[in-house]
Symmetry: D2
Subunit: 292 residues, 4 copies
């Protein structure tokens, strides 16, 4: 247990098979002060590095280690030089910076979560510098770069949706562990997480984000759902139709159950009106659609 | 420690000075199915009762105790009969129910938190039965009733706001524990909690809610702020001016600091653009304004 | 809405009835480096001030305002001079500091939450400088001081407890909204929050904390419970008996229900073994006992 | 968008590349009532199924779908028949159940999180049926089964640790984005997450858990650390040495920084005693060691 001495001289039980390190929750607000209005961006950045770092694990030799504190500084330094127009372009720049600057680094993963701020509207006009927060919903991006390639993933997390009609669930497996009744009219509540990949080298990240988000809202509202899977699939298809830059889309949707409350013991009828809102247990459904 | 025997026969060290009990986080979704559209309400209810319950504490005699499970049932039963137009009117009905039904109850407090769901807009039209969630912001109400009176408090929690101009902070006490610099241009970020009381017996709860919420947004956006306190006070004044039903308003606003990141070590200038977003520590400012 | 001009010259709708401000979540770790071992304290401090601060609300005049940033500094400065033996004594010092230093302050409330760290035991010996964290359970103190008096409250939050025998609940009100069955053998799960006041000017804070915590554990384990109220009352009595410094004790205990899972549809019997663990809804029971 | 008709008849933009679904947060408490004492287990189960489910996505045909509600029932049914001695053995049984019962299922992943309850000790004796909760720390297991193989992973999450001596960090890359000073004496605070794989078909899960947990505590306390990576590696080595059943171990350790507070502006010296406790940003370090 005495560390470096022992570890270099005796045969150890294990070998280092994988390693990575970095800094998480580097939170940044950038205000771009245009003449007629301010642009507000608030992001949280996580960076992970892979590369030639075995010596720090093995003997505590940190000579190849970029300190995570320096990684934090780098987020702010790079953000001061970058327009932060999209989190994707900022992430690509950051990956590029690490691969160009440090030869010991073989791979970089940058994950960015963006808080969504909307302009306060007053007297029918969007305010120049005052904003309200969207809350649970976030825009996200993950950029993975190596010496060979850079892959950009974009996404949305926490988009809460409920529809009170147009959702059925019946005809599923009925066996000894089944107690759920068939239903032709249930509440469908969820919180959409979605991620997509690009097929073009220079996609329009903002248009893709807008296109996917609209496809989710439109399809969720109008699709007649026979299962969460069914609607999720339609959302994926619509997104691929609408956004040509996307090559692949992955959706994860919890089924946040609203359970009809049994009013019979109280001599009342529940006309599909009164439900227990639940967080747990919850269904969890996922799918990946690739462009065919 | 052997419970009931000992407690009735020997002099105990203490006497029961206060007691209350109830059920919290009773979560309910109600769908009102109108011809042309559905109305969706999602609430979480907490009920607390006070009254003649000493025997359950003292000797475990539960004969006067309304089980908290029954209190849960009651929320769903009453909601099936109530339009749930406002959480205030529902809370008043629930308080009324307990005081009328059980003579051992001297006081009832009902607190209701409402999730905010907005209609999905598609092709310029608000959808009839599909909704997205507002996230962090909630509408709240607390109704306290006794044999003598019922007091209704209404409120908003978690309304996240940021303004990137029109906020100063200077001229404060400067002494040996002060290191903060004066500033004529800072970011002002907060998450407003507000509660108000009514001066009329039959106020328009919905109009009060709309009026206060608009006053907050408008004043936050347009007021030139010399301190969080200063803006909070103006919000309170504007709400009292705009909403005649209100007698008193209390605001709590954290100061969610965005701290300029020091770029000098990197030979860069921070032109009031790059900030560290922080959660803690945070300022916490409060005020109550009464109608004069 | 134009702020200071208007507010001083016209009659406003409201008057400032109450105000307070301060800093929350000031987090501090102190290591006291003794010869043979280190003492580790980790606390989170919230300070709120009341006093002559109307001008900052009314016209943005901050000349009487101690900046919350300075309040943050003060926590670290005072902690560097104080042994931090108990959070109560540190809080009393901080209240004292504010009242002595600033004549515009009429009242100070300091709330301190202490993370609990225990020494790692290895080869039967408590380690000199290595610790593991207790998790959810915290020690808390709240000190309220004015020009007239200082009141110290101590407490424990988040002490999670479960007993699987010795808990009944029956004989409660049975009416049209009741569906719960009587039970002579239920699981009793809770998370105790407790606060107490002192009757002596110089109490032994550490002994009081140890005495109350032991009373909770002993009484919860051994008391035959006929209701959450019943056990809570016995805990309060035992604490008052054991800890002479205490004048009053308040307990809040959620009833974190474990609901027997109905195995009948699966042709199985549930011999009081299989339960659904739930977070919501939950019972919430409270009591205050004063020394008689 | 009209769902089933369209989707079967026209060429769609995408094809379903991956899919899975299941139930999460199925929470269960089991009490095993032995003669002399009770055994308390509290777990949260998540199940995910993969297989021949394309029809539910494509056209809403649920005939192959095991409802997630039935999956919830199955957890309770299986737990009533299983001793729940370890979460690993329970998870293996559950995977087995799904693969044996439903031929449309090709893969099952079961993840179980166990709350840790310890017996209350009173008068030097562990109580027979009363327990207190460990809080943040959990025991976890993940079992992945296909028609070909079953892989068991075991783990620990949220084991909070701090050491106030024996931790250095220096000699790292120093360049234009570096501002962190070298240190020979820093606080090392973390919250360990660890997962391991087995090399034997019938490992002793409980012994492995105990062995790894002890290795973490012992190594963290006694290792002289030159980096988080350095200590993490030693923990991995010690675990592999001590627990022969393990083939591979992965550790993730955040660096939860305690930052020395600068007391110079207040004419005080910080003798490495006063620190700002921070949650964000945080370092995040990981490693996988394979048996060599």
């Amino acid at each position: 247990m005495s560390g470096s001495d022992q570890s270099t001289m005796t045969k150890r039980a294990g070998v280092l098979a994988k390693n990575a390190y970095g800094k998480s929750k580097v939170r940044l607000t950038k205000v771009t002060r245009l003449k007629d209005r301010h642009i507000l961006k608030e992001i949280s950045v996580a960076v992970q590095l892979q590369g030639d770092f075995a010596a720090t694990y093995d003997v505590g030799d940190n000579s190849q280690v970029v300190a995570t504190d320096s990684m934090k500084n780098t987020v702010y330094v790079l953000a001061s030089k970058h327009p932060l127009d999209t989190i994707e372009s900022f992430g690509v720049d950051m990956v590029d910076h690490y691969l160009k600057t440090y030869k010991q680094i073989s791979g970089v993963t940058v994950r960015i979560v963006e808080e969504l701020w909307h302009r306060i509207v007053h007297d029918g006009k969007a305010h120049a510098h005052s904003f309200y927060g969207a809350g649970a919903e976030k825009r996200v991006a993950e950029i993975e770069g190596t010496r060979q390639s850079v892959v950009v993933k974009s996404g949305i997390e926490g988009l809460k949706l409920v529809k009170t009609a147009g959702s059925e669930f019946w005809g599923f497996v009925r066996d000894e562990n089944t107690t759920l009744a068939d239903t032709k009219d249930r509440i469908f509540g969820t919180s959409v997480s979605v991620e997509w990949l690009y097929q073009n080298a220079r996609p329009d990240y903002q248009a893709a984000y807008d296109g996917v988000r609209n496809a989710i809202l439109e399809c969720f509202a109008s699709h007649h759902s026979l299962a969460v899977q069914h609607t999720m699939y339609e959302i994926g298809q619509l997104a691929l139709e609408r956004v040509p830059d996307i090559s692949e889309i992955s959706l994860v949707m919890p089924n946040e159950h609203r359970i009809p409350f049994n009013l019979q013991p109280f001599n009342l009828e529940n006309k599909n009106e009164i439900f227990v809102t639940t967080d747990e247990p919850y269904g969890l459904i996922s799918a990946t659609l690739k462009r065919s």
